[in-house]
Symmetry: C2
DNA sequence: TAGATTGTTAATCGATTAACAATC
DNA sequence: TAGATTGTTAATCGATTAACAATC
């Protein structure tokens, strides 16, 4: 089997959400055409994507068995066994992420947050403890955590990333508007909201013409 | 001149941030090689991207004049003339976005928020007023707003999008985990955090092997 | 059987990278 | 001049879509 492509991987959560909705409606089988229509995708693309994830073949004429498909997607995406993470930066966005329990559904479990602000240190946010930065390494080591979330102002982002890497973090999810320099082997996903905004504005402008 | 590609547009904000940093250091000219090294990109790609945006040519041997380049990027990205927007959903994430003044730098001006929760309606968040949903249309029309931000739970996202479109919104920036069905001509940027997380986890898992 | 649907191979499209002439 | 750098054309790479045989 081929390596799964980034583009495909990116679409998988949307498929799964679509399948959940169909399940709620009591549907028992689903075709690639239906999924494609619901998500504005090409049916061939859906079939290819499903082929990566699915352990059972679809049946011509009827499509895929919804229950089996959901199980395959959940297993593939690892939603069933949750993964621990820490978060640094309990400011506005950090608080929002800590307060959002929806990530649990996606297999994410934030076990602790860290900050330098004395006012939030040693409090809890949504029953998650906030510690001072000096405790980061010991927490990461003790709980064997590999995923770190960065929600600090961009000036501090690189520094925080360095601390994380030193502590043994292997994957970083950053919401800071700062390009991070990381040693090879550390996975990085940068949520660049300025880039999203630029994309959107450009489409808006091109409508004006 | 060719149409600018999505991929290029996505990189522009990172370029500009990089240029700002160089400016702070007192640098006066910059080469594509330098930018590429700072952002982990290919120098040829940098030159191509710059060519889309830049009004003046770079000089062999010396590179680009930093001041000119920054002006070109700012103009292109529209950071100089800000654009008004409204936001619906003053919960955790919505509050974080309303509270973050950094978007002003990117030319985004959120003029008002809307919510159905009586506890937040008619309060202000970061000196931005929160109104009840029924006022949305009149505000959008009065201020001629074209950009709407959705930060409501996914069950309500489609409904909110419909209200926005009806009011005359032309571009939607959604943070809800829900595929939106929109009439043609409405620009959409969907921030799918579950997809980001899936991407990151997959890289993390492939390290384990 | 006829028609809808799957799975796969081939063609197309778009974006990145390599090669290289021009030039300061 | 020699060397670094730009800008552009051609080659490559990857992802999407079209075409189509297989099959329920």
């Amino acid at each position: 089997m081929q390596e799964i492509s980034r583009a495909t991987l990116n679409r998988l959560p949307a498929y799964l959400r679509c399948l959940y909705e169909l399940e709620k409606k009591g549907v028992s089988t689903v075709s690639s055409t239906q999924i494609a229509a619901a998500l504005d995708l090409n049916p061939v693309q859906v079939r290819k994507d499903v082929a990566y994830v699915s352990t059972v073949a679809g049946k011509p004429k009827t499509g895929y068995v919804l229950k089996e498909l959901i199980a395959d997607f959940e297993n593939f995406l690892g939603y069933r066994n949750s993964r621990d993470a820490i978060l640094v930066g309990a400011g506005g966005l950090g608080r929002a992420i800590l307060g959002y329990d929806g990530f649990a559904k996606y297999g994410l479990n934030i076990v602790a947050a860290f900050d330098i602000d004395e006012k939030v240190v040693n409090t809890t946010i949504n029953s998650k403890p906030v510690y001072e930065m000096s405790k980061l390494k010991s927490v990461v080591e003790r709980f064997n955590i590999r995923l770190g979330i960065i929600t600090v102002p961009s000036q501090s982002a690189q520094e925080v990333a360095d601390v994380m890497v030193d502590a043994g973090i292997l994957a970083i999810w950053s919401f800071s508007a700062k390009h991070l320099n990381l040693p090879p082997g550390i996975a990085l996903k940068h949520e660049d909201l300025a880039a999203s905004l630029a994309l959107l504005r450009m489409e808006l402008i091109s409508q004006d013409e």
